[in-house]
C-alpha cells in the first residue's frame, strides 16, 4: 500500500482513497488460515476467461460475466444473495434489495477473476458460503437462504464480530468480514448505494459552489 503510484492530483484523491481503502481493508479483512487455502484449488482452475487487457474499450458499461465466466454454483449464489440482503437491508420500502441490484454478481465476478489481487478471496468466499449453508442445515435443517430472518441473524451474530467471536467461528468470521467488504463495495457503487450513503456527485454543474452553510457550521467554520 505504500507504493501507490504517481503524481496525479486528479488522482491524489483516488490514490489517497486507495490508501484509506488499504487501511480499511487491513483493519477489516482477516485472511484465511493456511489450511483453508491449502484445501482449495487456485483460481486459475475455474476461471480461464479473458483478462482486462492493455487496451480495453473504456467507455463501455461492463457487467459481471462480460470478460470472464462467473464460477459460483447456483447454491453458493443463492446463499451469497441472501447474505447481501441481510448485511445491507433497504432503508426505504421503495428501495431494492442488494440481491435485486446484483451485488452477488459482483462478488462472483471478483472471486472468479484471473487477477492475483482477487485470488486470495476465492477460497475465503466459496468455502465460507458452503459453510454458511452447512451451518444453517446443522442448526435449522434448511439452506441459509431458506431461513427466517431471526435464524439468519442467529448465525450472523456469531460471526459478524460485533461481539466476541468464539474460537470455532474464527474462519467463519474471516469469511464474513471479507464478504461484507465486497458486498458493501458492490452495493455502495450502485445509484441506490450512492443515495444511501449521501454521495450526490457525478452530475455536471455550472459552478462549483463549495461547502454549504450547513457543512461549514458542522465544522465550526461558519
Amino acid at each position: 500500500m505504500e507504493n501507490i503510484p504517481a503524481d496525479n492530483s486528479g488522482q491524489i484523491d483516488r490514490r489517497q482513497a486507495l490508501k484509506w481503502i488499504g487501511a480499511a481493508a487491513a483493519a477489516a479483512a482477516v485472511f484465511p488460515h493456511a489450511s483453508a487455502q491449502d484445501r482449495l484449488a487456485p483460481p486459475s482452475a475455474s476461471p480461464g476467461g479473458k483478462r482486462i487487457g492493455w487496451d480495453p474499450l473504456l467507455n463501455k458499461n461492463y457487467v459481471p460475466g462480460d470478460l470472464w465466466a462467473l464460477t459460483l454454483t447456483p447454491k453458493q449464489r443463492k446463499a451469497a444473495a441472501s447474505l447481501t440482503d441481510l448485511i445491507l437491508p433497504p432503508d426505504n420500502p421503495s428501495d431494492k434489495l442488494p440481491s435485486q441490484l446484483g451485488v452477488q454478481a459482483f462478488i462472483d465476478e471478483w472471486i472468479s477473476s484471473p487477477y492475483d489481487e482477487t485470488a486470495k478471496d476465492r477460497p475465503v468466499i466459496t468455502e465460507g458460503l458452503d459453510w454458511l449453508d452447512a451451518e444453517a442445515q446443522r442448526r435449522f435443517q434448511k439452506d441459509f437462504a431458506e431461513l427466517a430472518e431471526p435464524q439468519k441473524c442467529a448465525i450472523a451474530d456469531d460471526i459478524c464480530g460485533k461481539t466476541a467471536v468464539k474460537k470455532e467461528f474464527r474462519s467463519a468470521q474471516n469469511f464474513f468480514n471479507r464478504f461484507r467488504y465486497l458486498a458493501a463495495s458492490g452495493y455502495y457503487s450502485t445509484p441506490q448505494g450512492w443515495k444511501d450513503v449521501g454521495y450526490v456527485g457525478n452530475v455536471p454543474t455550472l459552478n462549483f459552489d463549495g461547502p454549504t452553510p450547513e457543512a461549514l457550521k458542522h465544522l465550526g467554520l461558519a
Binding site: 488499504g22 461492463y62 461547502p211
Partner: protein, 591 residues
C-alpha cells in the same frame, strides 16, 4: 496534413518531433504556428479523448469496480492505454535486486503520451529552483534564470488554461494579472485543515492546475500568445472556443471529452493540425536519430509497429520529446563512427543524473468530518495545496530543499472499500457506514530530489525489446537528503492529522522506509542535463545538444534539477522557449 499513415509521408520535413506529450505537443504547436513543416512520430496508437473517455461511467460500470490491475494500474477508467509500469514486449531492467535501488518506469504508448495521465498540477519553478547549487552547493545551477523562463510560463498558462491564484509567497511565483483562471472554492475538509494548521505557519492556498474553471479569453489571449501572427491568432482563438469549461464532475484522470483539462491531444495537437503544417504518424517507435556527413541530425529511424518493419524519415532538425528515459535511450542507441558512445554523448553524461520526485504519504480518519451534511464535494480533483513553507529553516532541517503537500478529503464517488471498516451488519452497520463515509483524509508530500552519481540509466548489454532494440537498465539510489525529507513529511502529516483531531498510524521515522520507490511519482527528469559547459552537460539552455545543435531535447531530459514543483508546466515552457530559438536559428540559416 493530418494524422497519417505511412504512405502519406512526405520525403522531407523541416522538423521531426519524436513524442506527442507535453514536450512534443508544445514543440509541434510552436513550430506549426510559425509555418514550420513538422512530422510527429508517436510510438503508440492514435487516441481521441473526445470519443474514448469514459466520462460519467460509475465504478460499477468497470470490471472489478475499476480496481487497478497489471494492465490498468491506476484503475480501469484511467485514460492510459497500452502503458503503465510495464509495456508488453518492451522490458526495462534493474541493475540491482535491492528494492531500495529500484526504479519503476511509467510509460504511455498512446497519442498524447503521459499527458493523458497526470494531476494537471501546474506549478512554476521559482527563482531559487533554477539556481539550487548557488544556494546550497548541491546539484547544478541551470544555465538560465527564472526571468528567462517567466514569459514562457505566462504563455503556456494562457494556452493550456491554468486555474490558481497569486499569493505572493517565497519562491512560489505569481502570474501576471489576467493569466490564471479563477481557482475553484476549497472544500469543507480543506478549509478545516487550513484553519487548524495555520498555527504551525503552514499555508493552505489554491493550487494551480491545467483545468478550465472558466472558458479561456479567446479574444485577448491569441494576440498575447502570437503577436504579429494573425493566422496563428485565428487558429488558437477557434481552438479555445472549442474547449468547454469544467462542469465539476468526473475524474480528470480519465481524460476529458469536453476538453476542459489539458491533454496534448485536446489542446496542443488540434490547433497544430489546423495549421496544415503537421503530420502525425502513430505506431512509429523511434529507434535512433540519423546523422549526416556534416555531423548534424538529418532524420529518424523508426519501427512501424503495425508491420514490424524499419523505416527512415528525413528532417532538417530533430526534436526528441519521448520522455526522459526514452530520449536517453534513443540517444544511446544512435551510435555511429562519429558518435560511438551514442549521439551527443561526448560528455559521457547521456543517461546520467536521472531524477524523480520524493514521495511519501499518510492517511487518517477524521471524526470531525463524520455526518457532514450532504452536498456535492466533487469539483475537479485537488483545489488547494501547501507550498513549501520552511525556506527560512533550511539550515535546521538536516536535509536540503523542500516539498509541497497535496491532500484530499471529501465525499467522493463510492467504490471498493466503502463501508469496509465498519463492524456488524444490518441497519446499524449501514448507519455507521453513512457516518464514516467521506470522513477520511490523505496527505502526500512531493519533494525535490538532488541529482546524484548513483541514479542513472544505460543500455542493458543483453536485453532487447521485441524489435531488437537494446533496452534501458536503471541504477537508483536515494541520498539522505531525500530519505530525511520523506521522514519529515511523515512527521508533518501526523502532526497535521492530530491537529484536526484525526487518527492515523505512527509516522515512519525511517525515511528510507517512508519514501516511495524511485520513479513512482512519475516525475522522471534528467538523463541529458543542460548546463553552461559543454564538457559537463549534454545540452545548452536552448535544449540544443552541444555536439548536434539541430537536435533538441524538449522533454524533461534536459532538467538539471527537479524542484518540488511538478515538472510538466516547466517542460512546456522550456520546450516553447527552445523551439522559438530553433525557429530563429533556422531562419538565420545557422542550422
Amino acid at each position: 496534413m493530418a494524422i497519417i499513415t505511412e504512405k502519406d509521408l512526405q520525403p522531407n520535413y523541416d522538423v521531426i518531433v519524436v513524442g506527442s506529450g507535453a514536450g512534443g505537443g508544445q514543440s509541434a504547436y510552436t513550430l506549426t504556428m510559425n509555418g514550420v513543416k513538422v512530422l510527429m512520430l508517436e510510438a503508440g496508437r492514435n487516441y481521441d479523448p473526445v470519443t474514448e473517455t469514459p466520462m460519467f461511467q460509475s465504478k460499477a460500470d468497470a470490471p472489478l469496480l475499476g480496481m487497478g490491475t497489471r494492465e490498468k494500474p491506476f484503475g480501469f477508467h484511467d485514460a492510459t492505454v497500452d502503458g503503465g509500469w510495464e509495456v508488453p514486449g518492451e522490458p526495462y531492467t534493474q541493475a540491482s535486486t535491492d528494492p531500495k535501488q529500484r526504479f519503476d518506469w511509467w510509460r504511455a504508448r498512446m497519442l498524447g503520451g503521459r499527458t493523458n495521465h497526470w494531476g494537471r498540477i501546474s506549478l512554476r519553478n521559482g527563482p531559487y529552483d533554477f539556481k539550487p547549487y548557488s544556494r546550497d552547493g548541491l546539484g547544478f545551477d541551470w544555465p538560465l534564470s527564472y526571468e528567462d523562463v517567466a514569459p514562457y510560463y505566462d504563455k503556456v498558462e494562457m494556452l493550456v488554461g491554468v486555474y490558481g491564484s497569486n499569493e505572493g509567497l517565497e519562491n512560489t511565483p505569481d502570474s501576471p494579472n489576467g493569466t490564471l483562471l479563477p481557482p475553484p472554492k476549497a472544500r469543507a475538509g480543506e478549509l478545516y485543515v487550513k484553519k487548524h494548521v495555520a498555527k504551525f505557519g503552514i499555508p493552505v492556498i489554491p493550487i494551480h492546475r491545467a483545468i478550465l474553471s472558466t472558458r479561456q479569453d479567446h479574444v485577448n489571449f491569441p494576440a498575447r500568445l502570437h503577436p504579429n501572427n494573425p493566422k496563428a491568432q485565428k487558429i488558437i482563438a477557434k481552438a479555445m472556443q472549442e474547449r468547454a469549461a469544467c462542469f465539476w464532475a468526473t475524474d480528470c484522470g480519465r481524460g476529458c471529452s469536453i476538453k476542459a483539462n489539458y491533454q496534448s491531444t485536446t489542446v496542443h495537437l488540434p490547433p497544430a493540425l489546423a495549421t496544415g503544417n503537421l503530420d502525425i504518424l502513430c505506431n512509429a517507435h523511434a529507434r535512433e536519430v540519423t546523422v549526416g556527413a556534416d555531423g548534424k541530425a538529418n532524420g529518424v529511424i523508426y519501427i512501424d509497429k503495425v508491420t514490424g518493419q524499419e523505416r527512415a524519415v528525413k528532417g532538417r532538425a530533430v526534436i526528441l520529446a519521448a520522455s526522459s528515459g526514452e530520449t536517453a535511450r534513443i540517444l544511446l542507441n544512435s551510435k555511429s563512427n562519429r558518435f560511438p558512445n551514442g549521439l551527443a554523448n561526448g560528455s559521457g553524461l547521456v543517461g546520467k543524473y536521472i531524477m524523480d520526485t520524493v514521495g511519501a504519504g499518510l492517511g487518517g480518519s477524521v471524526p470531525a468530518f463524520e455526518n457532514l451534511p450532504v452536498h456535492n464535494e466533487e469539483g475537479a480533483g485537488t483545489h488547494v495545496y501547501i507550498p513549501w513553507w520552511l525556506y527560512k529553516d533550511a539550515s535546521k532541517l538536516g536535509f536540503a530543499r523542500g516539498y509541497h503537500i497535496e491532500f484530499g478529503t471529501g465525499r467522493r464517488m463510492p467504490g471498493l472499500g466503502t463501508g469496509g471498516a465498519s463492524p456488524g451488519y444490518g441497519k446499524s452497520y449501514k448507519e455507521e457506514v453513512r457516518q464514516k463515509y467521506g470522513a477520511g483524509i490523505g496527505f502526500a508530500g512531493r519533494g525535490e530530489m538532488i541529482p546524484n552519481e548513483d541514479s542513472f540509466c544505460e543500455l542493458d548489454p543483453t536485453v532487447k525489446d521485441k524489435w531488437g532494440i537494446p533496452v534501458l537498465r536503471f541504477h537508483w539510489k536515494w541520498s539522505e537528503h531525500e530519505t530525511k525529507q520523506a521522514a519529515h513529511m511523515e512527521a508533518t502529516f501526523a502532526m497535521m492529522i492530530e491537529a484536526i483531531g484525526g487518527k492515523t498510524r505512527t509516522p515512519q521515522a525511517d525515511g528510507s522506509k517512508a519514501i516511495d520507490t524511485g520513479g513512482r511519482i512519475i516525475h522522471e527528469v534528467g538523463g541529458a542535463i543542460m548546463g553552461a559547459n559543454a564538457k559537463k552537460s549534454v545540452a545548452n539552455q536552448w535544449n540544443q545538444c552541444w555536439e548536434v545543435p539541430n537536435l533538441l531535447l524538449n522533454d524533461g531530459s534536459a532538467f538539471c534539477s527537479n524542484a518540488d514543483k511538478n515538472p510538466t508546466l516547466t517542460i512546456m515552457a522550456l520546450a516553447w522557449r527552445a523551439t522559438d530559438h530553433l525557429i530563429e536559428e533556422m531562419r538565420k540559416g545557422n542550422l
